[in-house]
Amino acid sequence: MNSASRMPLAWLGQRVLMMLVTLLAVITLTFALMHAVPGGPFVSEKMLAPEIEAALNAKFGLDQPVWRQYLSYLWGVLQFDLGPSFKYPGVSVNSMIAEGLAVTAQTGLLAIICVVALGVPTGIVAALNRGRWPDTLAMFVASLGIAVPSYVIATVSLYVFALRLGWTPAFGLDDWRGYILPVFALSGFWMSFVARLTRSSLLETMELDYIMTARAKGLPARTVMLRHGLRNSMIPVVTVLGPVVANLLTGSFVIEQIFALPGIGRHFVLSITNRDYTAIMGITIFYAAFLMLMILIVDLLYLWLDPRISYGDRK
């Protein structure tokens, strides 16, 4: 069977439907939360700049009952329109996201590449050297990477490498070196996590019966490990890639703040401190949609990796 027959369109349709339901829940929840703010940001007597008042009125009808506001917001979201900013006249939430997307996507993508391209090999090397110094060293560093919060990694490395040694710029992405510290700080935790996971998963896999079969066939130890051990041990690693994406997003809030990167995360944190409620709402919904897309992609990756999985049979 090839992967297409294990993933009938019915399944895909169901998945997309489920995503839409979840998204609806997220929209409703964020809308409700933002309307629950004490004093209420959407109370019409609020002192707003007249242009914003006008834009909001056009968008939500602030004088309208809440359910009408909700419906018109929902209608907007369906048309990929997240409405005007609550704070900045003439700025739409869409444009805020569009502006930050490139920066966040670049650093995020680089971070994922680091997680996979450095974390997995580190785990393999550790597993191959189980109990010897490369393993001990790698796992010690990984323990640190998991324990030390990203903002600590970011600030300390900012001080050491940018302010003290001057090897990298302290902020901005004008130079390729500007990417090093943010990407490192962003991916530190997951690199360590994936290294540990790869190691333990590989060691566990190498204890399975079919590894013994592979050895009994007379395959060299390397072939046994790479051809039979590695692929199977990657299945749990792929499972965490979904959460990785999610956490890189939230991680970007603090990293973009520390390194003064104009990404979505920074916009998000700024909107929170500015109490820019429509921006908070819009960015949250954008995140949710993005994440669900990522999880779908991870599921498809899974399908390719593990032939036992068949999404068709699932009830």
Partner: protein, 390 residues
């Protein structure tokens, strides 16, 4: 066969209880499960190191602030940004001073070696960039036209002495002159408080939610788990942030936000445990004997699910501590003057160029704490799962 012929009585039937012949299994096999867990945990060195650190931390958090002569909010702008260790200049036999080159101030070193008083300059020359002091009849001049500034005493360039510890504020003071040590300990208090509150609320919500879902099963279970799935699609941090927007910053809000959001894992673990245990005989027996659902839940299932729940809880602690400090770092957590490791870090970042060492204390504190809880959690998990220990 070269063996000597055995004596006749050797051919007599063996009278003793045959089972006595087998040397008994090593003591481990007969010991109780929890005794085994305990001994494996005690042999897990990182876990023990973590435990010792956590005990130390709890003691410091509980008693430290009481024992300190300072409070976490008491400001003293005259004594701001003092270091934990300094090099003093000797002006005369009984006067030593410390120069803070970043804010160009002079402080008197008291008898105990603490930096306890700001010395106001007697003259200040903005044009030639000099401040002057009259101390014990000597002219002390700080020339900050040069980089780094130079201190002269009666015209001679002063030489600083060896490094001495600031006994008044062992960790120094922050930009508002507050004692960093007491703020650190207060930060530990907040972290542990948040962790405890989060763990407690998550435990209660998670056990109830997962318990109901697992016990009732069927359609209720399906709906409840679908809901959990939906909740878990979005990173929990995002919910916490949204909650904080609604609740406004503050310690109570942080506890509330973390407590109401992080129960998802717990609910899943409890449900999974219950599903596996449900099939087992003694639960069916209890049921036929007419035990109520809640009785079964608390008397039978939970004690058995204790291990995995414990591991989940221990793993939850570092997450809660991290998320609180993360929120506080980006300014959505506890409000000033309250100190959390997150706010302490972000305050240290503000003065990073002038006083980089201020970053050290909160960074090390949170990192060690996270490490300690992670090690303890790893050790616990290994100890509970004998299959894994090597």
């Amino acid at each position: 066969m070269t063996r000597a012929a055995p004596s006749p009585e050797m051919w007599q039937p063996l009278a003793t209880n045959p089972s006595a012949l087998a040397e008994g299994p090593p003591p481990q096999a007969t010991r109780g499960f929890w005794a085994g867990v305990r001994s494996r945990l005690f042999r897990h060195r990182p876990a023990m190191a973590g435990l010792v650190f956590i005990i130390f931390l709890v003691l410091a958090a509980v008693f430290g602030p009481m024992a300190s002569p300072y409070s976490y909010f008491e400001q003293n702008l005259e004594l701001s940004n003092l270091p934990p260790a300094y090099r003093a200049y000797t002006v005369d036999a009984d006067t030593q001073v410390f120069v803070n080159r970043s804010n160009l101030s002079l402080y008197r070193v008291d008898d105990q070696g603490g930096l306890s008083a700001l010395l106001r300059p007697d003259g200040r020359d903005m044009i030639s960039r000099q401040s002057t002091w009259q101390i014990g009849g000597k002219d002390v001049v700080l020339d900050y036209a040069q980089r780094p500034p130079v201190l002269t005493i009666d015209g001679e360039v002063a030489q600083s002495g060896g490094l001495s510890l600031n006994t008044r504020n062992p960790f120094g003071t922050d930009q508002l002159g507050r004692d960093v040590l007491v703020r650190q300990m207060y930060g530990a208090r907040i972290s542990l408080l948040v962790a405890a509150a989060a763990v407690l609320t998550n435990f209660v919500i998670g056990v109830i939610y997962g318990g109901i879902s697992g016990l009732l099963g069927g359609r209720v279970d399906a709906v409840m788990m679908r809901f959990v799935e939906i909740v878990a699609t979005i990173p929990l941090t995002l919910y916490v942030i949204l909650m904080m927007v609604v609740l406004q910053s503050g310690l109570l809000s942080v506890v509330l936000a973390i407590g109401t959001v992080y129960w998802v894992d717990m609910a899943r673990v409890v449900r999974g445990q219950i599903l596996t245990l449900k099939g087992q005989d003694y639960v069916a027996a209890a049921r036929t004997m007419g035990a109520s659902t809640s009785r079964i839940l608390f008397k039978h299932l939970l004690p058995n699910a204790f291990g995995p729940i414990l591991v989940t809880l221990t793993m939850l602690i570092p997450s809660a501590i991290f998320i609180e400090s993360f929120m506080s770092f980006i300014g959505l957590g506890v409000t000033p003057p309250q100190a959390s490791w997150g706010t302490l870090t972000s305050e240290a970042v503000e003065t990073l160029r002038a006083y980089p060492y201020q970053l050290l204390f909160p960074a090390v504190a949170i990192s060690l704490t996270m490490l300690a809880f992670n090690f303890l959690g790893d050790g616990l998990r290994d100890a509970l799962d004998p299959r894994l220990s090597s």
